[in-house]
C-alpha cells in the first residue's frame, strides 16, 4: 500500500498538496465503483473545512466521505461488535467515552477481514493535521495503513497538546512510505510575517528580525505584515489595551480575527467589551470604532448561552415542551430538539421527558449543526488559538495575557499557530510590560 506523507511548516500548502495527491490517485483509478475516499480529521471544524476543500476538487465528484476519527471509530466498533473480544473490552475499561471506541476500532482493525471490509468501501484514506493523533487514533491509522492507500500531512510544531511527545508519531509517519517535505510558505509573501513566525518556531528572539520604532514613548517592533507591541493592562485599567486593539483594526483592510490563548482572561474580556461599543477620536478629529465582533464560541458555550434563556420543568410531556419551546423554534437547535422529542413519543412511546434529557438534546443539536457546517459568521471575530487551528484569515490580532499557561515549548507552538493564521497582517499585543525578553518571544534569559 502506498503511503504519502507531507511534512511542512504552517502555510506551506500541506492540505493543498494532500488533496492534490489524493486527486491524482483517484484519477489514476484508485477508486472502484461505489468506492469513496475517506478523509479523517481530529475535530469537527477541520472536518467541515476539509469537506469543503474536497467538494471543490472535481477529481472526487462527491466520491468522498469526511468523518472525525471518533465517528469513524464509534461506527466501526458498533458495526463489527460481534468480533470484539473480552480482551479488547478489558483494554478500554479505563478509557473515556471518546478514546474507548477508538481503541476498540484499532483492535478490530488488527483483523484482516475487518480491514478488507473497510477497504471495500474506502480504499483511500486522507488524514490532515496528523500531528494531533494520540496513541489510539494513531493505532487506527496504523491499522488502516496495512490495507488502504494513505495520504497524510503533519507539522510536528503545530501539535497543541501540552507535554505530548510527538517524536514517535512523526517518526512513524516519516517511515511509513514516501515523505514529501514542503518548505515554501505560500500563505503569505509578507516578509516580516514570515520572519517572525520562523523566529518563534526556532526559539529565537522575535525582535531581532523586526525593526524597533518608538512613538509617544511607546516602542513597537515592526516588519512587513507584522507588528509586536506590549500594552500595560490591569483589571482596573484596560483602556490602553482597548485603544491598541481598536487602533490596529482601524489600520487593516477587511475583517480582523482576534486570537488569544485564554478566552476567559478578564482583562481581555473587558477590553474587547469596550472595543464593541466605544468610539475614539484622533487629534485630527477623525474617529474610529466601535468595532462590533462576535466570539466564535465552542459548541458548549453556545449551548450554555441558549439554555440559560430557557427554564425547563423537571419532567414534561411532549405537548408541554412543544408549548414551551415552539416560540423559540426559530433557533434551529431548538427546532431539532422538538422534532427529536416528538419522534421519541411517536416511535418509542416515551411520554415524559426529563429536563436533563431535553438539555442534552439541545446540546447535541448544536454540536451536530456545527458538525454539518450550518453555522454562519461574518464581520470581526474573536476566538481561542485552539479554535483557529488549520484556518486562515487576512488579518490577525493576537492578545497574549499573563494567563497563557504551559511549557515554554507549548507557548511557542501556540504563538506560532496564532501568527501563521494570518495571510496579510498579524499584530501581537502582549499584556503587561517587560515580558518581551522571555518565552515565547525570546529564549529564556540566561543569568
Amino acid at each position: 500500500m502506498t503511503f504519502d506523507f507531507f511534512e511542512g511548516a504552517a502555510g506551506t500548502g500541506k492540505t493543498h498538496n494532500l488533496v492534490g495527491r489524493a486527486g491524482e490517485i483517484v484519477q489514476e483509478g484508485g477508486l472502484g465503483e461505489e468506492q469513496k475516499l475517506l478523509a479523517l480529521t481530529f475535530m469537527n471544524g477541520a472536518r467541515r473545512r476539509l469537506d469543503a476543500r474536497l467538494a471543490e476538487n472535481p477529481a472526487f465528484r462527491r466520491r468522498f466521505d469526511c468523518q472525525t476519527f471518533d465517528v469513524f471509530a464509534r461506527t466501526l466498533a458498533a458495526r463489527r461488535r460481534s468480533l470484539i473480544t473480552q480482551e479488547m473490552q478489558a483494554q478500554v475499561d479505563a478509557l473515556n467515552q471518546f478514546n474507548a471506541p477508538c481503541s476498540l476500532a484499532a483492535s478490530l482493525l488488527e483483523n484482516e477481514a475487518v480491514r478488507q471490509w473497510v477497504v471495500r468501501s474506502f480504499p483511500l484514506i486522507l488524514v490532515d493535521e496528523a500531528q494531533d493523533l494520540d496513541e489510539h487514533r494513531l493505532r487506527i491509522l496504523q491499522g488502516l495503513a496495512q490495507s488502504c492507500q494513505i495520504v497524510a500531512a503533519a507539522d510536528e510544531f503545530q501539535c497543541l497538546h501540552d507535554g505530548r511527545d510527538t517524536a514517535p508519531l512523526i517518526g512513524w509517519l516519516e517511515g511509513a512510505g514516501q515523505t514529501h517535505r514542503l518548505t515554501q510558505v505560500r500563505r503569505t509573501t509578507q516578509q516580516g510575517l514570515l520572519a517572525a513566525a520562523l523566529a518563534v518556531r526556532e526559539g529565537r528572539d522575535v525582535k531581532t528580525v523586526l525593526a524597533a520604532k518608538t512613538f509617544n514613548n511607546r516602542t513597537s517592533w515592526n516588519g512587513a505584515g507584522f507588528r509586536l507591541q506590549d500594552a500595560p493592562a490591569t483589571n482596573a485599567n484596560h483602556a490602553l489595551l482597548a485603544w491598541s486593539i481598536a487602533n490596529d483594526i482601524a489600520q487593516r483592510q477587511g475583517s480582523v480575527v482576534i486570537l488569544t490563548p485564554d478566552s476567559g482572561n478578564a482583562i481581555i474580556r473587558a477590553a474587547l467589551a469596550t472595543v464593541q461599543t466605544r468610539q475614539w477620536t484622533r487629534n485630527n478629529g477623525a474617529t474610529f470604532g466601535p468595532y462590533p465582533h462576535e466570539w466564535d464560541r465552542h459548541d458548549n458555550e453556545e449551548a450554555d448561552a441558549l439554555l440559560t434563556s430557557i427554564t425547563l420543568p423537571d419532567y414534561a410531556t411532549c405537548a408541554d415542551l412543544r408549548a414551551l419551546l415552539t416560540p423559540l423554534a426559530e433557533n434551529v437547535a431548538i427546532a431539532q430538539t422538538l422534532s427529536r422529542i416528538d419522534r421519541l413519543r411517536r416511535a418509542h412511546g416515551q411520554s415524559e421527558f426529563a429536563a436533563a434529557q431535553v438539555t442534552e438534546f439541545a446540546r447535541e443539536a448544536i454540536r451536530n449543526r456545527s458538525r454539518l457546517g450550518f453555522r454562519q459568521q461574518r464581520g470581526h471575530l474573536a476566538m481561542t488559538i485552539q479554535r483557529a487551528k488549520n484556518r486562515e484569515f487576512p488579518n490577525v490580532i493576537v492578545l497574549w495575557p499573563h494567563t497563557a499557561t504551559g511549557s515554554a515549548e507549548h507557548q511557542r507552538r501556540l504563538l506560532y499557530n496564532a501568527i501563521t493564521r494570518a495571510q496579510n497582517h498579524c499584530t501581537v499585543i502582549v499584556l503587561g510590560q517587560g515580558r518581551l525578553n522571555a518565552p515565547p518571544f525570546a529564549p529564556r534569559p540566561t543569568t
Binding site: Q35, K36, A78, R79, R80, A113, Q116, S121, R346
Partner: protein, 611 residues
C-alpha cells in the same frame, strides 16, 4: 444465492418464528397455520416495495400496534459465488453489510469463518412501526450487523445501513401469491412480464410508438367524437366551452391516454386454440392461463440461470387450477430451474414431491410459529416401516399431517375401517346434517396409515412434526403394550383411545350393525356370500377378512345405507372426534376417561358402548 433462515416477530399472527429453509422447501399446514405469513415475510424482505406500502395495523401482531410495536423479519442469505466477501462489495463493506459465516449442518452463524462455519452469509432485516399520528407504517430494510444485539431498528443510535433494492435484486426473489390474477400476467401491467421483456429482449418500442401515434390521431371517419349520436353531445359541449374559455378547447375522444405507457398498460392477452376464435384470457379455462403464465415465469428463471444469477421463487399453492400430472411436471421444472423454491401447498401430491427434511409442517400456537421438518436429519437407516411411510405412503402421511389432530391406529385394517365408514357416512349426508351431527372426523382428524403393530415407530415420526398426535389401540394385552411403548415419549400422545376389553375394530363394526341387527345380518350375509347367524359371528367373519378391502367397503356401504346404523356410526365417530380434538375437556358418554393412566399432557379414554 438462497435463503437459509428466516426469523419473524410481530408480523400478523406470528409473535415469534425461527425457520430453517432448504434449497427446495415445501410448507405444509392447516389453514391459518402461518404459511402465507412466512411467504409474505420473505416478500417484505426481498420483494418490491408494493407490498411494503400496503402494511396496515392488521399486519402488526394483535392488530392494535402501539408506539413500541414492531414488525421485525431477519433473513440469512448464503450461496455467494465465489465464497469470499472480497468478490461481493455490494453486500459486504463498511458502507454495506457485515459478513457472517454459516454452518450448513448446525445452521448457526459465526462472526468469523471456521472449520464448521464455512459458508459466507449476509443477514437482511426488515422492520416496520406504525405511526399513530400519520396512520401509516414506517419501514426500513437494512443490513443486520449483529443479530443478537440488534435492538430496536428505529432507535436513534441504531447505526443501520439501509439496503438498496439493486442489491436485493441479485437474489432474484419472486413471489407468486395464491390470489393470482392469471389473465393479467402476460400484460404490461404485470411487473413480471416487464421484467421478462427487459431481461429476455427489448421493448417493442417501434410498434408501441406507431400504435400510440395511431390512437392519438385516428384516421378520418373513425373518430369517435365525429360519429352521429356522439357529435351532437360533443358539439354542445364545445359551444359551452367556447363561452367559458378564451382558448375554446375542443373535446376529442381517444382510446387510452395516448402515451406509450398507457398503450402498454392496455395490452390484454388473448389466446387462440386450434382454428377457434381469438379469446381474451379471462374467457379461457383457468388451467390454460395458469400454465401459460408459469411458462413465462420459467423464461424469467431461465434468463437468470443463463447469466449465473440466482432466482428464488416463492409460490403459493402451485396446484391451483392445474391437474395433478401438470402439477408434478411444473413443480419439478421449478425446482430444477430455481436456485431456491419455497412452496406452500394443500396438496399432498405437491408436498410429497419434496424431500422429507425439506417438508416443513407449519403450526402457530399462541403466536409462536413452529416449522418442523418431516424428518431431520434423515436417519441413516430408517426402519422398514418408516421407509414405507416416507416413500410409499408419503402422500397419505402428508395428507394426514395436514389435519388439526392426527390419529395413529393400531394397524392397517383399523385405518381401512375408519376410512370406509367415514366415506360411506359422508356419502349419505343430507342437507339437514350440516348442523351438530355433521361428521367432523375427516375434517379435523388425519388418520396415519400404520402397518400392524408399528405404532411406536409411526408415533416417533409423527410426534416430531405434529403437536397433536393420538393413538387408538385394541382392548387387549397387545394394545396395552403399544400404549406402554409410547406413553413415556416426550411429549406423550395427547390422547389415547382404547377399545373395550377384548375388542378390536371389527367388534365396533358389529356394534354398529347392532343398531338394526336382524336386517343388517341378512343384508351382510347376502353381500359377503356367507350366512351370518349373529353379531358374534359377524365379528368372527370380519376378523378373518382383516386385509381384504372389498369386505370393508361393501360392509360399510350396507351399514351406512341404514338410518339406525348411520346414526350409531355418526354418534361414535363424532364422539371420537370430540375426544381426539379436545381431550382435556371432552365430555361424552361413549368414551370413559381412565384417570389412572391419564396425566396432565396425556388423556386416556376407553370406548364404553351404551348398554
Amino acid at each position: 444465492m438462497h435463503v437459509v433462515g428466516l426469523n419473524i416477530s410481530g408480523f400478523r399472527g406470528v409473535h415469534s418464528a425461527n425457520i430453517a429453509l432448504g434449497r427446495h422447501t415445501v410448507l405444509v399446514g392447516p389453514n391459518n397455520s402461518g404459511k402465507t405469513t412466512i411467504i409474505e415475510a420473505l416478500a417484505l424482505l426481498f420483494g418490491r416495495d408494493r407490498l411494503v406500502r400496503r402494511l396496515t395495523e392488521h399486519d402488526f401482531h394483535g392488530s392494535a400496534p402501539n408506539e413500541a410495536a414492531r414488525i421485525l423479519c431477519i433473513a440469512t442469505v448464503t450461496g455467494f459465488v465465489p465464497n469470499d466477501p472480497q468478490h461481493h462489495p455490494s453486500w459486504f463493506s463498511a458502507e454495506r453489510g457485515v459478513e457472517k459465516w454459516f454452518d450448513p449442518a448446525a445452521k448457526t452463524l459465526s462472526a468469523a469463518p471456521g472449520a464448521q462455519h464455512t459458508d459466507l452469509a449476509a443477514q437482511i432485516g426488515f422492520a416496520a412501526r406504525f405511526d399513530l399520528d400519520e396512520l401509516e407504517a414506517e419501514t426500513i430494510r437494512f443490513f443486520v450487523d449483529d443479530e443478537a444485539t440488534l435492538g430496536d431498528p428505529f432507535a436513534e443510535d441504531a447505526h443501520l445501513r439501509t439496503i438498496h433494492t439493486k442489491v436485493l435484486q441479485e437474489l432474484g426473489f419472486f413471489l407468486v401469491p395464491a390470489s393470482r390474477t392469471w389473465d393479467r400476467w402476460i400484460s404490461f401491467s404485470s411487473e413480471l412480464f416487464r421484467r421478462v421483456v427487459a431481461t429476455r429482449g427489448d421493448m417493442p418500442a417501434q410498434a408501441v410508438r406507431a400504435e400510440r401515434q395511431r390512437l392519438w390521431t385516428p384516421p378520418e371517419g373513425t373518430r369517435l367524437e365525429l360519429q352521429p349520436g356522439l357529435s351532437e353531445i360533443v358539439n354542445a359541449a364545445n359551444d359551452e366551452l367556447r363561452a367559458l374559455m378564451a382558448s375554446a378547447p375542443r373535446l376529442q375522444l381517444r382510446l387510452t391516454s395516448t402515451d406509450s405507457d398507457s398503450v402498454l398498460e392496455s395490452v390484454v392477452p388473448h389466446f387462440v386454440q386450434g382454428a377457434g376464435p381469438t379469446l381474451p384470457s379471462q374467457r379461457q379455462g383457468a388451467g390454460l392461463v395458469s400454465l401459460q403464465s408459469l411458462l413465462l415465469l420459467m423464461q424469467f428463471g431461465k434468463a437468470r440461470a443463463e447469466t449465473d444469477q440466482s432466482f428464488v421463487l416463492a409460490v403459493e399453492e402451485p396446484e391451483l387450477h392445474i391437474q395433478p400430472s401438470q402439477q408434478k411436471r411444473l413443480v419439478n421444472r421449478l425446482n430444477a430451474l430455481c436456485s431456491q423454491t419455497i412452496v406452500t401447498t394443500h396438496s399432498p401430491i405437491v408436498a410429497a414431491m419434496f424431500p422429507a427434511p425439506d417438508t416443513l409442517f407449519i403450526e402457530t400456537r399462541d403466536g409462536a410459529l413452529s416449522a418442523k421438518p418431516l424428518m431431520d436429519p434423515m436417519p441413516a437407516q430408517p426402519t422398514n416401516h418408516q421407509q414405507h411411510l416416507l416413500y410409499a405412503w408419503r402422500q397419505r402421511l402428508v395428507a394426514a399431517l395436514m389435519h388439526e389432530s392426527v390419529l395413529i391406529p393400531e394397524g392397517v385394517s383399523d385405518v381401512a375401517w375408519l376410512e370406509a365408514l367415514q366415506t360411506a357416512l359422508e356419502l349419505h349426508q343430507g342437507w339437514q346434517d350440516a348442523g351438530d351431527d355433521a361428521p367432523l372426523l375427516s375434517t379435523f382428524v388425519g388418520i396415519v396409515p400404520t402397518i400392524d403393530a408399528k405404532i411406536a415407530d409411526t408415533f416417533a415420526l409423527v410426534n416430531a412434526v405434529h403437536a397433536r398426535p393420538c393413538i387408538l389401540v385394541d382392548g387387549d394385552a397387545d394394545g396395552r403394550s403399544y400404549f406402554d411403548a409410547v406413553k413415556t415419549s416426550n411429549p406423550p400422545p395427547r390422547c389415547v383411545v382404547f377399545w373395550p376389553q377384548g375388542w378390536a375394530m371389527e367388534h365396533l363394526v358389529s356394534w354398529i350393525a347392532g343398531a338394526d341387527e336382524a336386517a343388517m345380518l341378512a343384508a351382510l350375509g347376502a353381500a359377503l356370500g356367507t350366512p351370518i347367524a349373529n353379531a358374534q359371528a359377524l365379528t368372527i367373519h370380519l376378523l378373518t377378512q382383516k386385509s381384504y378391502a372389498p369386505t370393508h367397503e361393501s360392509t360399510a356401504v350396507i351399514l351406512m345405507g341404514n338410518a339406525a346404523c348411520r346414526a350409531r356410526a355418526a354418534q361414535l365417530l363424532n364422539a371420537l372426534c370430540a375426544v381426539l380434538r379436545e381431550p382435556a375437556s371432552a365430555n361424552t358418554p361413549l368414551f370413559m376417561r381412565i384417570a389412572a393412566d391419564s396425566t396432565a399432557d396425556m388423556h386416556v379414554f376407553q370406548f364404553a358402548p351404551p348398554p
